[in-house]
Symmetry: C2
Subunit: 341 residues, 2 copies
C-alpha cells in the first residue's frame, strides 16, 4: 500500500541530488547553495510536497499534537473552550486531538488511551461527572506527558489548572438574591464528585451564613445534571410547607429548565421565585424572563489552559509547577431576579 504522497526521495531522485540536501533545503538550513534550494523548493511546490509529520515525530519524540478531553459536547461551554484552546495551539504550531466522553468514566479512560497511543505531547482535560479515579491521568505524568485541568479539575493531582472563581461568583449570586429580599433560597447543586459544584455550593452556604439566614437542608438538592429530573425537584421545592422563594441553580441548563417548570406551575418570576444560573449559556439572554447568571470567560479558559500546557513543553518534569490560574466570573443581572433591569 504505497502512498501517493510526494517524499523527499522523490525530489532527490528527480533532481539527482542527495536526500539530505533536499531535507536541508526544505528545513531552511543555511548551508545550502541558494540555487540548489531554489530548485528543491520549486519542485516541492510543483509536486505539492507535504512533510510527513509521522517520521519527524518518530525521531523527535514529539508530535506537536495536544489532546483535549472533554466530558460532553452538548452545551455551548466546551466547544467554545476548544475554540480558545485551538487558537493558542495553532499560534504555537500545535494541532489538537479532541475527544468527548458523553459524561462516561469508561469513555474517558478509553479516550486517554487513544491519546497515549497517538503520542500527544500533552493533554488538556475536564473530567466527566462520573470520574472519581484518576489513575489514567496519573499515568500521563509518570510517562512525562504534561496534563492541565480546566473547569472540572482533579484536586488531588498537583498539576496546573485553570478555573474560574466559582466560590466567589456563587457567593455573589446568592448575596444578590438576598439583596432583593429573598430568604428561602433553594440550591439545585451538581454532583458532589465535581469540585466546581462543591465550590458553588460552598459559596451558597457562606453567603447565607454571612447574612444570618439559616441553612435549610430541605432546600439543597444535589443531582446528577440529568435535566429531566429538574421538574420533580422544582415542584418539590415550591410545594414545601415553607416553600422556596428563590433558586440558585448549578448551571444555566438547569436554571432554564427550572424557569420553564415554574412558568408551567403558574409561578411569577422573580416575584414568587427568583432564579439564578451559572455559565451564561446560549439562550439565557432570550428566555423569558431572561436569566440572571454568572458569565465565564469561556474562550479565555481554553486559551489559558493551552498556554499553561504549552509552557511545560520544553521543561523537565522537575520544573512543572502546579500553577492554578483563576479567572474572573461575573454576575450578570437580568429579569429572572430583577424585573425590567
Amino acid at each position: 500500500m504505497k502512498s501517493n504522497q510526494t517524499t523527499i526521495v522523490d525530489i532527490a531522485n528527480e533532481l539527482k541530488i542527495s536526500k539530505s540536501t533536499v531535507s536541508r533545503a526544505l528545513t531552511g538550513h543555511p548551508s545550502v547553495k541558494t540555487e540548489t534550494r531554489a530548485r528543491v523548493l520549486e519542485l516541492a511546490e510543483k509536486l505539492d510536497y507535504q512533510r510527513n509529520m509521522l517520521s519527524i515525530s518518530l525521531i523527535t519524540n514529539k508530535t506537536k499534537t495536544i489532546g483535549i478531553v472533554l466530558p460532553e459536547f452538548i452545551t455551548s461551554f466546551f466547544p467554545q473552550v476548544v475554540v480558545g484552546a485551538q487558537e493558542e495551539a495553532a499560534r504555537q504550531g500545535y494541532s489538537v486531538l479532541i475527544s468527548q466522553c458523553n459524561e462516561s468514566y469508561e469513555t474517558e479512560v478509553a479516550n486517554s488511551k487513544v491519546m497515549l497511543a497517538n503520542r500527544v505531547d500533552g493533554v488538556m482535560v475536564s473530567l466527566t461527572k462520573e470520574t472519581l479515579n484518576y489513575d489514567h491521568w496519573k499515568a500521563f505524568i509518570r510517562k512525562g506527558i504534561p496534563v492541565v485541568f480546566f473547569n472540572r479539575v482533579c484536586e488531588e493531582m498537583m498539576v496546573p489548572k485553570v478555573v474560574v472563581n466559582d466560590y466567589d461568583a456563587a457567593f455573589k449570586a446568592v448575596e444578590h438574591l438576598i439583596s432583593i429580599g429573598k430568604r428561602r433560597i433553594a440550591h439545585l447543586a451538581g454532583p458532589s464528585s465535581l469540585v466546581i459544584t462543591r465550590k458553588r455550593t460552598n459559596g451558597y452556604l457562606d453567603a447565607l451564613k454571612k447574612h444570618n439566614i439559616p441553612v435549610d437542608e430541605e432546600l439543597i438538592i444535589g443531582y446528577d445534571l440529568t435535566l429531566n429530573k429538574v421538574k420533580m425537584y422544582v415542584k418539590h421545592l415550591v410545594e414545601l410547607d415553607n416553600p422556596a422563594d428563590a433558586l440558585f441553580a448549578v448551571n444555566d441548563p438547569t436554571a432554564i429548565e427550572a424557569i420553564q417548570v415554574l412558568k408551567q406551575l403558574g409561578k411569577r418570576i422573580p416575584e414568587d421565585v427568583a432564579v439564578v444560573g451559572f455559565s451564561d449559556n446560549y439562550g439565557s439572554n432570550f428566555i423569558e424572563p431572561s436569566l440572571t447568571t454568572v458569565a465565564q470567560p469561556v474562550r479565555e479558559i481554553g486559551r489559558n489552559a493551552m498556554e499553561l500546557l504549552l509552557g511545560l513543553m520544553d521543561k523537565d518534569i522537575s520544573e512543572w509547577k502546579p500553577l492554578i490560574r483563576t479567572l474572573d466570573a461575573e454576575l450578570i443581572v437580568r429579569n429572572s431576579t430583577v424585573k425590567g433591569s
Copy 2:
C-alpha cells in the same frame, strides 16, 4: 530527548528474548509459545506498555485518524455532528482530528494542510461560508485521501456527501406559512456561496409559485450570517409600504434574532409576523414565542458521513462512488406560526 514510555525493546531486554518475539506476542501472532506470550503480556501490562502508533503508521501508511474540518463551533449544530461522527469512528477503531475555521477560507486551507501533514486517512468536511475555491480539497483526492462532505458541501466535486433535504424542508416550511394565511412571506437567505442556502431559497421560491403567490424581490434578503445585521433587515421588512407578514429565516440563530427584534418593534408573533427557522437549535423551543423550525437529525448526519468515509478506506480510488445520502428533515410547528399549538 528520550521518551519515558515503554517500548518493545525494553520488554525484550528485560525478558532476554528478541524484539520480534515480543512484537509477535503483542500482536497475537499464533507462532509464539503460550508461556512466552504470557510472560510478555504480563510484563507489558506491568510496564504499562502502549503501542506507538507513530511507527505503525509509518509502516502501514495508515494513521487510523480521520480529520474533521468544520466552519464554526459556535452554534450547537457542528459539535453535535462531531458526537455522531466520533461514535462511529471509535466503533471502527479510528481517532478523530478536529479543526474549526471561524468561517474563514484562509483558515480552512491552513487546516487542510495540517490534516495532510498529520497524514489523516480521510477527511469529513463542511465548508466555510467564504469558500469558493476547492483546490485544497481536490488535492486530497489526488493524493488518494478520501473526502466526504456534509451539510455545506462542494457541488463540483464528485465525492460522497451527506445532506438533508433542504429544498423539501424549506418548501414545506413556506407552504406551512401559506396555510396559515400569510402572503407577504419574506426570506432572510444565507450567502449564495453555500449550496444548502440556495436550496432553501429554491424551496421558498417554488412553494410561492405553487400557490400562485408572486415573488417579490424586495422580500428576499441574502446576507452573510452576521447576526448583528438582522435587526436592520427585519426593521426594513416590516416597514415596507407593503410589509412582510411572515419570515422564513435561513437558520435558527437568525430567526431567534428576528423574533427579538420583532418584539422590540411591538409586533405580535405570529399575528403580525409569523417566523420560521431552520435547524432546531438549542433555545428554539423556549424562546417566546417558541420557534417553528426544521429539525435535522444532527448526530445521524455525523454518523452517516463517517460511515461513508470509512467505507472508502480499503477501497481503490477507482471504486469511490460519489454517493449522496440525503436524510430527512422535519418541520416542527411551534408558537411562532401557530398560537398555542
